[in-house]
């Protein structure tokens, strides 16, 4: 049996999203994850190719998924880059402004006193190991898709997504976890419903799935903007402290 490099790339990129905390690493990993999923779909040929791009025969579906991935990643990357965006400061009274100054000082202190600690990565690492074991076992115990590779890919994406949400320390990381979960159901739907014994792919759910991914990224970006505007940080422990 040959090695499926795209499957390995899906696994690795999702693992990077789960393990790392820095958005400069996780957001490019998410983009790569979308790209590898699109390439994986192109390789598996769930939908017959209908366009030729740079000499590569692919289906429009793959292109749509690629565009969705790029859009989602751009939304999150722009959000991460523009954390300094302020919301409605012109209407704030003195108390509100003072509260913002206090929050900014607290966030500054937290950044200054939070060096790199290996212990921060212990829980995500073991969560990843657990997800890997489950993703290897579940395709044999409970196969759903047309091949083991498909089952591994969607189980792995769903589990790393859920564990990313569970171990997330900031709002953006929660968004990344949710998007991994959405990718899992996207892959499962495309792979399973396109099989001969299923009802067949419908353009509406596929379009809505892509739209949902983008709207989800926008919702996460909006909440991240609000949180930063309120607390000058995206850390969840600050959100739940007050």
């Amino acid at each position: 049996m040959g090695i499926n490099w795209f499957l390995i790339a899906i696994g690795l990129t999702a693992a990077v999203v789960l393990l790392f905390r820095d958005w400069r690493i996780t957001i490019p990993a998410l983009l790569l994850n979308y790209v590898t999923i699109a390439l994986f779909l192109a390789e598996q040929r769930f939908v017959a190719p209908d366009i030729s791009l740079f000499g590569l025969e692919i289906s429009t579906l793959v292109l749509v998924k690629l565009c969705t991935g790029v859009a989602v990643t751009l939304i999150l990357a722009i959000t991460a880059l523009t954390f300094s965006r302020e919301y409605g400061l012109e209407n704030l009274d003195e108390f509100g402004l003072a509260e913002l100054r206090r929050a900014a000082r607290a966030a500054q202190r937290q950044r200054a006193t939070a060096p790199f600690q290996l212990s921060d990565y212990v829980v995500p690492f073991w969560a990843g190991v657990l997800a890997l074991m489950a993703s290897l076992a579940l395709p044999r115990i409970y196969p759903i898709g047309p091949s083991v590779a498909i089952d591994f890919a969607w189980y792995w994406l769903a589990l790393t997504g859920v564990l990313t949400i569970a171990t997330a320390g900031d709002v953006l990381k929660i968004g990344l976890g949710l998007l991994l979960c959405a990718s899992a159901i996207d892959l499962l739907y495309t792979a399973v419903v396109s099989t001969p014994e299923a009802s067949g792919l419908n353009v509406f759910p596929l379009a809505l799935l892509s739209l949902f991914n983008i709207l989800l990224a926008l919702a996460v970006a909006y909440l991240a903007g609000l949180l930063y505007g309120r607390l000058k940080t995206l850390e969840l422990n600050e959100l739940y402290r007050r």
């Binding site: 353009v203 509406f204 759910p205 799935l209 959100l239 739940y240």
Partner: protein, 483 residues
């Protein structure tokens, strides 16, 4: 054409009202016109007459039409209430957009699209939770952001589970793969958890308590009435589309029933110990959600009739409760930040609305919840005294919780008014601080509360038309006959 109008007309009006959102009166008028037009459109669509649009089937059955009209009426009530009650800058566009999504869910017959639309309603609701009034001088509360984040995560997780379940139903053939975990049970488990998240059944309920605590009452009302009940209708549609799931999973239905009983009793018990009025109301709603879900999980004609009627009553009662709560929380001219205990004397219409809404959730006659509760008790009695006993226990605990909250907040003695002291030597009336003027209840909102209260009474006293419609709709549900 009518189907598409029902979906896209509110979307276009939502966009228009978003552009004009700072002109509150105009926007509310436009939105009310939209809701009325929607109601007219809904009555014009022929029942059970499916049509195809780009490979997707759209149809409207009797049950969905009743609920669609009720959702539109609820939306209309919320918009009227928004005239005097606090709401976010974007409340009206968000409400219209939510109505459009709910109409689409009720019209479309594709489970994948329905699931994604339900998830999209969740995203829309997030915007409403963190929405601040126009020109507010305060920041968005951290608790509101936390509530919105929790709601977002849980709704997306529910969507993922539901979507996986529907993918499995697409390839599932009854009786296949002996010796493995039954796919029907696995699918039912996925659906059970996802709908438990959406319907806020204990222990998947925490988003609802946070929502009631931290969001504006009108937003909470809109989310609980429109989105939760739509989810319930989708679950009924799922059972109708895939009856083999129920036929092959007798044990799993039992688990769902036990979960509903658990949710009912624990929700009611928590209402008894809730620290605030909002928390008490949240737990009363959880208790009622448990009751409604019990009716559905009993999978009998009686139980399902009770569940549908219960869901319908819940919409009216919850709207009444939150409109009344928003009125009671309005500044009334007294010193802010002090816990008031004389609300019934101070604002009698709002207090009566809150009390009646609570009693309707408990199913006390002559209010609207009475008949639905009776049907649910009958369905439970068919299953044995233990289940009936648990439902009655839940109602008793919830009643005690409501009585405690009412005693603490509504029925207390009137605040003593400070007797005017005689004028000091050289002092004139002009030297004294102006007399504190106590605000009366806003008439339009008090009238709205009164209308909702009368509606509760009218349905309670004369439920036959609604029961007839529900019985007619139940005759069309094949899975009940199959079981």
């Amino acid at each position: 054409m009518l189907y598409l109008l029902l979906i896209f007309f509110p979307v276009t009006m939502a966009l228009s009202t978003f552009v004009l959102r700072r002109r509150t009166s105009l926007v509310i008028f436009a939105a009310l016109g939209t809701v009325l037009a929607q109601m007219l459109l809904a009555t014009q669509i022929p029942l059970d007459d499916p049509t195809r649009f780009l490979g997707v089937t759209l149809t409207l059955n009797a049950l969905n039409r009743v609920f669609m009209l009720l959702f539109l009426a609820t939306g209309g009530f919320a918009l009227v209430a928004a005239w005097h009650l606090p709401h976010g800058e974007n409340f009206v566009p968000i409400a219209l957009f939510t109505i459009a999504q709910v109409c689409a869910v009720l019209l479309l017959q594709n489970p994948f699209i329905t699931t994604l639309l339900l998830a999209a309603t969740g995203l829309t609701a997030v915007l409403a939770i963190v929405d601040l009034p126009a020109g507010a001088s305060t920041l968005v509360g951290t608790r509101a952001i936390a509530a919105a984040l929790k709601y977002l995560v849980l709704m997306v997780v529910a969507c993922v589970l539901m979507y996986i379940a529907f993918v499995l139903t697409d390839i599932y053939r009854p009786g296949e793969l002996p010796g493995r975990i039954s796919p029907s049970r696995f699918i039912l488990a996925l659906l059970g958890v996802s709908f438990a998240l959406r319907l806020a059944l204990i222990p998947f309920h925490t988003w609802l308590t946070d929502l009631v605590d931290d969001a504006e009452p009108l937003v909470a009302a809109l989310i609980i009435t429109l989105l939760n009940t739509t989810s319930l209708l989708v679950l009924i549609f799922t059972f109708q589309s895939f009856p083999s799931l129920l036929l092959e999973s007798e044990g799993a239905i039992g688990v769902m029933r036990v979960g509903a009983l658990f949710s009912t009793v624990i929700g009611a018990g928590l209402a008894l110990g809730a620290a605030t009025l909002r928390r008490t109301l949240a737990y009363l709603i959880l208790y009622n959600c448990g009751m409604v879900f019990y009716g559905l999980a009993s999978v009998t004609t009686l139980g399902l009739a009770g569940a549908i009627f219960g869901a319908l009553n819940q919409i009216i009662a919850v709207t009444l409760i939150f409109v009344s709560l928003a009125l009671l929380e309005r500044p009334d001219g007294r010193t802010p930040g002090v816990l008031r205990r004389d609300l019934l004397r101070r604002w009698p219409v709002a207090s009566a609305g809150l009390l009646a809404g609570g009693l309707a959730l408990l199913g006390l006659p002559p209010l609207n919840g009475a008949i639905s509760h009776l049907l649910l008790y009958q369905a439970a009695a068919e299953r044995g005294w233990a289940e009936l006993g648990l439902l009655v226990l839940g109602t008793g605990l919830a009643g005690l919780g409501l009585a405690r909250a009412v005693g603490e907040r509504l029925l207390g003695p009137a605040e003593e008014t400070v007797a005017a002291e005689p004028l000091l030597i050289g002092e004139t009336e002009l030297d004294r601080p102006t007399q504190r003027r106590l605000e009366p209840e806003p008439r339009s909102t008090a009238a709205l509360t009164g209308i909702l209260l009368l509606l509760c009474l009218a349905i309670g006293l004369y439920p036959q038309p609604l029961l007839g419609t529900i019985a007619e709709a139940l005759r069309g549900l094949a899975f009940i006959r199959a079981l």
